[in-house]
């Protein structure tokens, strides 16, 4: 990861501005909008970075290579599986932005379904639709230098990563669970106080514990936390949380399954847990 940070000295006037490309695959545009939502910092960003390719924001589209490529969206069509290879070839540093690019996104719910049947639900003439049977993260297709989680990404995290890269540093973001943020902010635990099945104990920090602060359950936008029980880099204890949902909060197996099979349902720790409860569902 990130073995080739952008070399930026910022001393020579024009030539030194690193180039940025923003590429879209299957997605909702929300993470690209998060870049435009930088508002106060957007024009400043336009000064330190040379925005060479960002079709959603600019008609000027220059060819690569690019110093930094931001990728939104997942791979869901044969054309896109091919296009990402060419983007990788043109990018010095490639960063995925958001749940779709990092983990397959909500549209990865197709991975458990029959896509031919899906086409028939949505389209009168399914034969015109070119679509792969799966929605997969960028990392299953090319080497990814850094991943930004979130649905949508947090713009402060994006700025932090870009600032690190511009300074020639390896970007680093925290991986602890949302639960810790709630405790730090003094937010009343929705699971303990209201019996709401919250994914905060196993979900990665980044949003600032928005959902519990709004009186509801975390639903896993930032993917699995790391190192909560087993240690750094290791998956969170989903099985303990799932058992609490089932035995403590009386969720039936299919309800436990749906908790884990959501925005980031295809990423390993959540996928494995949902498969366990799919099995339970069949048994009961």
């Amino acid at each position: 990861m990130g073995d080739r940070p952008v070399q930026h000295r910022g001393t020579t006037k024009k030539a030194a501005r690193p180039t940025l490309g923003v590429f879209k695959f299957a997605s909702c545009d929300g993470c690209q909008l998060s870049i435009l939502n930088l508002e106060d910092d957007l024009l400043a960003l336009g000064q330190v970075l040379d925005i060479a390719y960002f079709p959603e924001a600019s008609s000027e589209m220059r060819a690569g290579p690019y110093d930094i490529a931001l990728i939104e969206g997942s791979i869901t069509t044969p054309e896109d599986a091919h296009r990402i290879l060419s983007v990788r070839e043109q990018a010095k540093v490639l960063i995925t932005i958001g749940a779709c690019a990092t983990a397959g996104g909500i549209q990865a719910l197709r991975n458990w379904a029959d896509v031919e049947a899906f086409k028939q639900v949505v389209y009168p003439s399914p034969q015109y639709i070119q679509s792969l049977s799966t929605s997969t993260p960028i990392s299953e297709h090319v080497r990814v230098d850094f991943e930004l989680w979130g649905c949508p990404i947090d713009k402060a995290q994006l700025l932090s990563v870009l600032t690190d890269l511009l300074a020639g540093m390896q970007p680093k973001l925290p991986t602890h669970p949302v639960c810790v943020d709630c405790k730090r902010r003094g937010i009343v635990c929705v699971m303990v106080a209201k019996g709401i099945p919250c994914l905060g104990p196993v979900t990665r920090t980044g949003c600032g514990a928005i959902c519990p602060s709004m009186g509801r359950d975390c639903y896993g936008c930032f993917g699995p936390a790391e190192g909560t029980v087993q240690g750094p880099g290791l998956p969170p204890n989903t099985s303990s949380l799932a058992k609490e949902f089932h035995h403590g909060l009386q969720l039936i197996p299919v309800e436990v399954l749906r908790r884990f099979r959501g925005i980031n349902g295809s990423v390993k720790p959540f996928r494995d847990e949902s498969l366990i409860w799919e099995h339970e569902k069949r048994e009961t």
């Binding site: 024009l43 389209y123 959902c211």
Partner: protein, 436 residues
């Protein structure tokens, strides 16, 4: 014997810029006459209507928000209203006001983005809002701050502006205290003045002389400018409830697009700010009414390029409405009306920033979604965009290909198309056959 062979001229633009999502345009010109206009949406399909099946009704607002990062509130609003219809729930008073308020936030954010960053560069001759800022720093800064004021409303009520988290069937997971809303007032007062300046600035642009004959479709409610309620009406006499939508509007699939085309009784029509303003200008609040009148433009606005003006007037309206709603806010006794699940089918239409957004759901006795249908605004405008291009093209044919392509993109951007929404959009490829 020399038979005159038709000449082919091909113009190609691969990705239409400054729109949300990805698509292309293919135009065929034969002997100087426009043959086919195909707006090709190649945004990959994401199958929302299919994977909503089997999910619990309370997951729907979180899932449908992901159809569009620019207008998630619209998806959430159409969804909760359709589901509430099934469960027999009426959301009234302060909760209803808060729903209007969060929708105002989304209109302000989405419209300001389009007016300043996506469409104004066309009128001032720049590639982007960021490039425009080099010469017009104060204007772009004003636009970004205006956009931010909309985001501030959404963040306060919804936790964040992209994919807000608090909207649920029956109301919200949390409602703000009075003083939290009052905290927005100063910035919204600044934004209201900036919105007045925006309308005046935009009214001074040079508009192409283009007056196609269009059908406008929008919601209309007796009391106010429409967000969540009202009859679906047109300038040609249509007046129906959302429940009757599928009897009048039909989606058809075309081979060149992953978005379905929706027609009204077989014809194309316009939804969105221009349609809403033409059909509801009598419901504007005093300041927006006055500023629109001062612009000297006669309603109805038939020139699609005036979409940017309608959008600017709506930013001003949304700010006036926000301030009005904040002024009268008293927190409701409960953040949400309790839900009792019952099986059934419900339909609802609300006014997304880009126009009417229709949802239909069938729910079983356990609250599980058995069927879902969603008709987004861009798939409704697609037919009209193609029609406008067909009518606008003849005046462009003497221009070099690159300029034709740019002019076509400008027409398309008038509609603020959201391709991510419709896929369930642009690359320009013009083939010219014969002398142009």
């Amino acid at each position: 014997m020399a038979e005159k062979k038709p000449k082919t001229r091909t113009i190609a633009v691969n990705i239409i810029a400054r729109v949300e999502g990805e698509g292309a345009l293919r135009v065929t010109v034969k002997d100087g006459v426009v043959q086919d206009v195909e707006l090709r949406i190649f945004e990959p399909p994401r199958f929302f209507e299919a994977f909503l099946q089997g999910r619990h009704y309370d997951e729907v607002p979180d899932i449908v928000a992901r159809i569009c990062g620019i207008c998630p509130v619209a998806y959430q609003m159409s969804a909760v209203h359709a589901l509430e219809q099934i469960f027999g729930i009426q959301v009234t008073g302060a909760l209803r006001d808060l729903r209007r308020l969060i929708y105002c936030g989304e209109w302000i954010e989405s419209h300001a983005l389009h007016v300043y960053m996506l469409q104004a560069p066309d009128f001032l001759g720049y590639d982007s809002g960021i490039a425009m800022a080099k010469d017009h720093a104060n204007i772009v800064t004003r636009g970004l701050r205006l956009k931010k004021s909309g985001n501030a409303i959404m963040t306060l009520l919804g936790g964040r502006s992209v994919h807000p988290v608090s909207v649920k069937v029956g109301g919200f997971s949390r409602v703000p205290r009075r003083r939290e809303l009052e905290g927005l007032k100063d910035e919204l007062l600044w934004a209201r003045d900036a919105a007045v300046e925006t309308v005046r600035w935009v009214a001074g642009f040079e508009y192409p002389d283009f007056l196609p004959d269009s059908t406008f479709v929008a919601l209309r409610s007796p009391e106010e400018y429409p967000f969540n309620e009202g009859q679906i009406v047109s300038n040609n006499g249509l007046q129906i409830s959302a429940a009757e939508f599928e009897q009048h509007f039909f989606e058809r699939q075309v081979s060149y697009s992953t978005a379905l085309h929706c027609t009204l009784q077989g014809s194309s029509y316009i939804v969105g700010p221009l349609a809403r303003l033409n059909l509801n200008h009598h419901q504007l609040l005093p300041l927006a009414k006055q500023v629109l009148e001062d612009s000297g433009l006669a309603l109805p606005l038939r020139n699609p390029f005036h979409g940017i003006l309608a959008r600017s007037v709506e930013i001003l309206y949304a700010l006036e409405e926000s301030l009005r709603l904040i002024e009268r806010y008293e927190p409701p006794p409960l953040p949400a009306v309790p839900v009792v699940v019952r099986p059934g089918t419900g339909m609802a239409c609300t006014e997304a920033p880009r126009g009417i957004l229709y949802h239909r759901y069938r729910v079983d006795g356990d609250g599980i979604i058995r069927e879902a249908k969603i008709v987004p605004p861009t798939s409704q405008n697609q037919g009209r965009i193609e029609q406008d291009l067909r009518l606008f093209m003849p005046r462009l044919l003497n221009l070099p290909d690159k300029k034709v392509a740019l002019a076509c993109e400008r027409v398309i951007r008038c509609y603020d198309p959201c391709i991510s929404c419709a896929t369930h959009f642009l690359k320009l490829d013009i083939s010219r056959e014969g002398a142009a």
